[in-house]
Chain length 355, copies 4
């Protein structure tokens, strides 16, 4: 048996990555992909990688009948999910939202960072946060609801928050962060993270051969990282852009408390390995090794590494993901797998390109 | 039931791509991967994309017992396959060779281009050339032999010859090439085509931001292209290097005979679509569209496009492949699928990354 | 003494490269740079590489007083130069046009390829073609006119025609091309060649990790190459795009006539060295070496190499340039130097980055 | 009048960049470039960007007569400068060292980080640290010595320390760093920073499409940054590699003391502009803008930007340089200009490529 799935906003980079995964998924049947901009165009024309694989054609949002689906994935800009989610849920369709609209539990924080009214604050409490390794319970609760016939709402974590939190969580949850200290997150993303829109920033000739910081002190993922890690007002997050398509590396520098009890990199690698024991998608690098984004591109894996700096009593933790996969579409499917009672890795088990 | 497979020379780029494919293949069980250079090292350490996927460890060539396998893939430099193939075949192991050692039917041509003696000329006649879309019969014959308990030897086509021949064959086999005229092949490859060895040519800082021709008038794939297309002494082949990892684009300019009967690009697209009808791995681009290497990376697909130039009565045909996949490891597995009676696309059906 | 110079259309890639060169030029004083899109914005804000170097601000085209200049460089799209050139010339301003509007001597060919009326056909005869190494006389004539107080019109060669013709000309002008045979030109350009406009084609994520052909059989530079080489209807030209900013490599395959008298690569290298003797900006690679685009980026140099293919009696000639410099802005300044009686290499002598 | 200059170790990336600059320098005459590996080979053969510009040939170190030069630039690995410097100084040759050998004032720190004995500790006190914007006096003292006929020794700052310190110094020197707090430096470099040696790390196919951290908690530039900023034991420095040739971006997160008096980004931009007033090579980005490495490639400029984070009372400062130029060869020439009484920007004034 398979579940009927649709993608709202399928023309963008996260949406089309969803299409790639769902087309090969044993448990979901991809029935509809919407895009007002590309309506009427076959997926394989817009993205020739689909040649020979799919006869799907982009549909207008208002023409696609989503109400009969089991699950709708929303790969839309923020505020658009606020519009789509309620009616889908009312129709009994489970919503897996890749936008930021239901991630932040505090609507006021959303309104401050996203400069938009949050029109569905009542949905925030029930939205299951989609980062399975760190928040399994809300997804289990959503799975329970679905089993009982109620649709669920999943708010998938953002790309930077995913890589950052997976790198930091073992230390943070062990209570090792120095009291009151600021945690510094410097992260670098490939250009797919800037979206499909053709702009000066995404022009090849400006993005190529270039490194730059952006959104310095103001990036919208800051409060999301703080919410996930439970460190309000204590994250300084600086994102950067580098010349590659996919891949996101987050380097997290954590001041440690006195007497945290861990005194070597080996101790921290042990902590990390224990923390992620049983997690199919998080691989802890051995002592002395650090993640490479090229090793996770095209996969739902996160690679995590850590080193202890005795000189400053700090931990440097690094996380690598494919921003479109574990940072967006892959994680959304992982969440949907859990919510629909499928194997967590269903449709997500492929090995990445070695080079 | 699965067949036992091994890879000789698994540390290089074609070898490790074979490992990626075979690890996920429903019909082959990857039992051994050899590399003298990396012996004792887990695949997942040398290539972290395998983390969490494989417990395989590189073995020394003389320590791996290949004789009990059903099939051995040789991902070795030329002349090395001459050494490995005979004993494997004697042990009853089918050999799928990715090197150049058994491709050229004329040992003298091999010796001239590869500057080495061909020590196994008696195997040349029986070696099945591995380019299934253009030479199905030898592979069917090999399959027949294997069904009857005899091992087969497959000599997989090279990367440039594959892309070039798939682009040119429909026109060439239709007899459209102008009598005696020279066919010009200009092809561009990503840097994986230059191999894993760290050299000045493969140094990032010399290969990046650079385009160059190499092997001008002397490249070893020239006689192979001529043999495949049946155009001895009539190919001018110039390969180039461009700054990307995977991907190979071959542009073939074919002078057409008078009165060839095809008078528009649409006619040629029809010819091409008919020619490749039923070929799962070759997609003919619609009129006005041309292949992009990014659309085939990580897949066994070839994208082919063609345009008629009335001004000069020429055809320009373009083929795009992933040089490591359809140009090497993927094609090898496709051939092995045929030879072992598996579905031709087994283990090769994944959709490429859309971006 | 310096000449007063202006740039019309300075915001695009060729225009801003002109600004870079002219700002450092000992013989020209850059007085005005126009751009309707960026009017009022300092060059150093739009292109931070100018920080600390220039106080120039983009002006609206209709606000800049160009009539008092000595020379105006037109870095505008085709058809726009048809509008700007006549009034500038009437004001006595020498025009160095980087667009295609005055390159083709036959207005009908222009109208056919550029799909636009040629409104100034009477200027075509007097326009000096700007490719100094191959057409010195028209530029000398223009210099003579300027010395005598009349403005000149220079129509600079395009990027693909420049690289292609410099690679092919020594053999073509020596009469070595086989009678009636077609010459095949396959060229690869960096993405600056596709212009500054943000489109899907120029989006980093589509251009990166990709090779593709475009404009197959229809590219507008085809008749320009044929005009330069004197080979009407005999060029098949296929341009390609590769993932780098600057750099253009053209590979030209020339069928040779019987008894051409040159029988080795060394003979052709001699021919080429003799042909370009005294040309400051063309370097002939020694036998066995071929041009790399990275070696000419940021400079006005062309590197040219050639190899004789005895098997097919063909010559493979390769030319590398920086498409924005020798292929556009640098060549324009080289022409202006000649026309104004300055040293040909004035302002163009810098050494390129070695890596 | 010009000074006679030589380069010891000219084949590597910093050395050849020195050659590029010195060949075009009005005040230095490049007389010798040594390289044991490339001895006898013309610079223009090893690096074709020099074609037509230089007749220089690499010489063996023991064959080049350096003793008659005015200045020798040492572009050698660490420990090699310890061998070369003393005899040159004894011969009266001023030494500008690009290696790490004379940067750290404490020989014990050198020995600990570089795992080598410091054989010339007596030279450390007199070595002028080469980072002119932050340490003008030692270079002035060296200039005074040279004017009086004594050779000087300059120890040029490293690439990461230069970008990092230029970004951090205005805040640090104003005493704004929170007492005892750790400063986090996350920096990203292009691959030229990893050197010319062909290794797996510098192989195109491993470096391309990849981001990774390296030298985590152990990088040798850590004590140098601490020495420059006067913050011993308070820097956590994590370098990263990104897929571009040149360019280095350092992001520095500085916890601010209470009541530091600066309360907005505008305040900090004012501070920075004042601090760098009169510095030809440091450009402070306006509020809201941040440096791009592409804007400084090929130039000796550093671009610096800063943003105040009120939430955490931190400053995020970002510095961009060309690691081979302001981070190595350009800075060395800037220092030599000062020491020999030439204009500080002599030979270093070229405008970078805008795109």
């Amino acid at each position: 048996m398979t579940y009927k799935a649709g993608i709202v906003g399928g023309a963008g980079f996260a949406g089309i990555e969803l299409a790639r995964i769902l087309l090969q998924h044993p448990g979901f049947d991809l029935c509809a992909v919407t895009s007002d901009a590309l309506a009427g165009i076959p997926l394989s024309k817009a993205y020739p990688a689909f040649s020979g694989h799919a006869d799907l054609v982009f549909q207008r949002n208002d023409e696609a009948d989503m109400s009969s689906l089991d699950v709708a994935f929303l790969a839309v800009p923020h505020t658009a999910a606020l519009k789509h989610a309620p009616s889908l849920l009312e129709s009994g369709v489970t919503v897996v939202d890749l936008s930021a609209d239901f991630r932040l539990k505090d609507a006021a924080v959303y309104e401050s960072y996203y400069d938009a009214a949050h029109t569905q604050p009542e949905l925030l409490a029930s939205a299951a946060f989609g980062l399975p390794e760190l928040f399994p319970q809300p997804l289990e609760d959503a799975a329970c609801a679905v089993r009982q016939g109620s649709p669920a709402l999943v708010a998938c974590a953002g790309c930077y928050p995913t890589a950052t939190s997976l790198a930091a969580a073992p230390a943070v949850r062990a209570g090792l962060v120095r009291d009151g200290a600021t945690v510094v997150v410097d992260a670098v993303s490939g250009v797919t993270g800037a979206g499909k829109k053709a702009t000066e920033r995404t022009h090849f000739c400006f993005a190529n051969d270039n490194l730059e910081a952006y959104g310095v002190t103001t990036h919208r993922h800051t409060p999301e990282i703080e919410q996930i890690l439970g460190l309000p007002g204590r994250i300084v997050f600086t994102p950067h852009l580098a010349p590659l398509n996919r891949g996101l590396l987050s380097t997290v520098t954590i001041p440690l408390g006195e007497g945290c009890g861990l005194a070597s990199t080996a101790d921290f690698v042990d902590l990390y390995e224990g923390f992620y024991d049983g997690c199919a998608f998080v691989d802890v690098m051995p002592e002395g090794s650090f993640p490479k984004t090229s090793s996770v591109v095209g996969t739902n894996h996160a690679h995590v590494g850590a080193a202890f700096d005795a000189r400053t009593n700090s931990l440097v933790a690094v996380g690598a993901i494919d921003n479109l996969c574990k940072g967006a579409a892959g994680q959304a499917v992982q969440c949907a797998n859990i919510v629909f009672g499928l194997p967590e890795a269903a449709g997500l088990a492929s090995v990445g390109l070695p080079v």
